[in-house]
Subunit: 407 residues, 2 copies
Amino acid sequence: MKQITGGVTAAKGFMAASTAAGIKYRDRKDMAMIYSEVPCVAAGTFTTNIVKAAPVKWDQNVVYNQGEAQAVVVNAGIANACTGEEGMGYCKETAEKVAELLNVSAEEVLVASTGVIGKQLPMDRICAGIDMMVPILDGSLESGHNAALAIMTTDTHEKEIAVEFELDGKTVTIGGMCKGSGMIHPNMCTMLSFVTTDVAISKELLQEALSADVQDTYNMVSVDGDTSTNDTCLLLANGLAGNTKITEKNADYEVFVKALNFVNEYLAKQMAGDGEGATALFEVKIIGAETKEQAKVLSKSVITSSLTKAAIYGHDANWGRILCAMGYSGANFDPEKVDLFFESAAGKLQIIENGVAVDYSEEEATKILSEEYVTAIADIKMGEATATAWGCDLTYDYVKINADYRS
Amino acid sequence: MKQITGGVTAAKGFMAASTAAGIKYRDRKDMAMIYSEVPCVAAGTFTTNIVKAAPVKWDQNVVYNQGEAQAVVVNAGIANACTGEEGMGYCKETAEKVAELLNVSAEEVLVASTGVIGKQLPMDRICAGIDMMVPILDGSLESGHNAALAIMTTDTHEKEIAVEFELDGKTVTIGGMCKGSGMIHPNMCTMLSFVTTDVAISKELLQEALSADVQDTYNMVSVDGDTSTNDTCLLLANGLAGNTKITEKNADYEVFVKALNFVNEYLAKQMAGDGEGATALFEVKIIGAETKEQAKVLSKSVITSSLTKAAIYGHDANWGRILCAMGYSGANFDPEKVDLFFESAAGKLQIIENGVAVDYSEEEATKILSEEYVTAIADIKMGEATATAWGCDLTYDYVKINADYRS
């Protein structure tokens, strides 16, 4: 498997388009579309928030009850959440408009929205945006890249990736893009992530691969502990790679799953590192756990601790807050057996041994914590299981961005 | 029942002292002592964090296994948490020193610490502080007030209260003080709270009254979601009011419980309003719930939402974040039935009805949200149960205070 340039248009038969529809933002693109030349099997995972945005409900029906899809249309700026019957109607209207122009069924059109909760979509602009995008759909890497730019809200940069690998002599490609910066504490999936692939695979295995993988990728990311109303991850597979269709968990399935994990983990980490106001990607690895679940609970508790996040912003090796956050996580362990290390491009340093501080250099610790990607590794010495979670530091700018987001 | 001036020395037979022991802070008092002329029955609730500070373990033994106490000694600046065997030894040494000077048993001396995790206590200064405090113990309101000042860390003001009420013709007094500003998400109790009373009551009922009441008071407060290693609430009753001893859940018990609730709720709200960097006390009431537990889960989810807290700082009526935080709380409700109101000294305003925004004035909403004490009321229309939680806004200053707390 190797990483290649590209995003959602990297896989065979996928095209994209984007446009400035003027939904909320000015002077930038805010709508995107993905289209596959042939129908795709579709898998998806969605927010567990019981306040679900209208597009989440629409997509759940498509993914769970229809199963095939050929197009995705996305807008940034307004989330179409808490919008009642009217909001549901707008999803249908959007899908029907796209379906008509692309000559597909409305039930094969997925919709996604992100932005302010509680406002209704300006349907005239949405429809005008669709009219503009359909004629310019194309399979270039540039159009995929522009789509990744168009779906951003408070993100500071676009997030996309593509990989390719071989399955029985055929080159298979997976490409993806996502957006997410605030209200990020996915509990099924990230804010919005779209992954396309030309692999031939059954719908059941596609969904199973995605559902399993989000547990270790998007669901291990948190920016602020707020699980969004709109979290959606969609995975479309159109089969154009020409590999022998994967219909059982054979060696081909394992190769695909591994490549999918690479793509999803990359996108998830990009979101954490681009958390609202963040200056650093903060990774927490728990090793020596009895079970993976225990390691996950512990690592997520640390990356969501406001006090730990503020200390990372201050490049302060305040290890007591890390041990404290592990302690209130709900997972069991012996605090007096924990070893803790900080690691980054600047080096690796042991901070505590068996729950008590070693004689480390605060200066060296601060140097390690001043990098853009810092890792805390806690060994709880109970077994062999591990887990990793990703978050970011808590900064003035997070507060600034969110104190008056709507205006 | 009426509120009176005073704190931990308001009840008969209680004295206090405080001193500048130079443990971490300079030019301010950082140690305090409470002493009762006669032995007290003692009740306590403690952090549920499995990383428990040494003084928490010491006090749990005193409260659960001994049951009587006559003195409390507290230091601010160093938490004596994650300090291993050495830290436990210092608790014992502290208690023995106090016991010797006051001629009580070391098992009747409660100890409490708050501050930086992972540093050992400077025992020479602790012992010198005890030597200074014992001779100046006195029952004046001033000495209680100074004790409340001495236990502060990042608190911006002292927190104390006293009330009195009648039980069979005798005046009974309850007084208390607490500290807490960051790492506040009590899960048994607040950071440090000390309540003294001269009521005559059995140990069993004293503990039962406290354990029940913290569920509605301290445990409904959150500043940052971080449950401390040191959370401790101690309640001492010395019986000097001369009331008929309460040994069953009679009318006297109910009167006492109501007064205790008033004291604890006051102290809990003071902590929330003085949350690190806070500019506002943020109260969330859930009404119309099926069960109290459901209402508690919903209200706590809203007051701990970083996005909601940032919006309160910005005086922004971003109701979508409140509904979103209710949605991911884990409690069940129908988002499309929710009514939401904002209320403060500046008025009361309905924002959403049946899950959708009403045509409210953003200007009026901002005016209401610009007060120092703002309330969000959500009616979920399922039943009669209610719950209230207290938090604060998320500000630049929270980040500033915590980015480099240790230096």
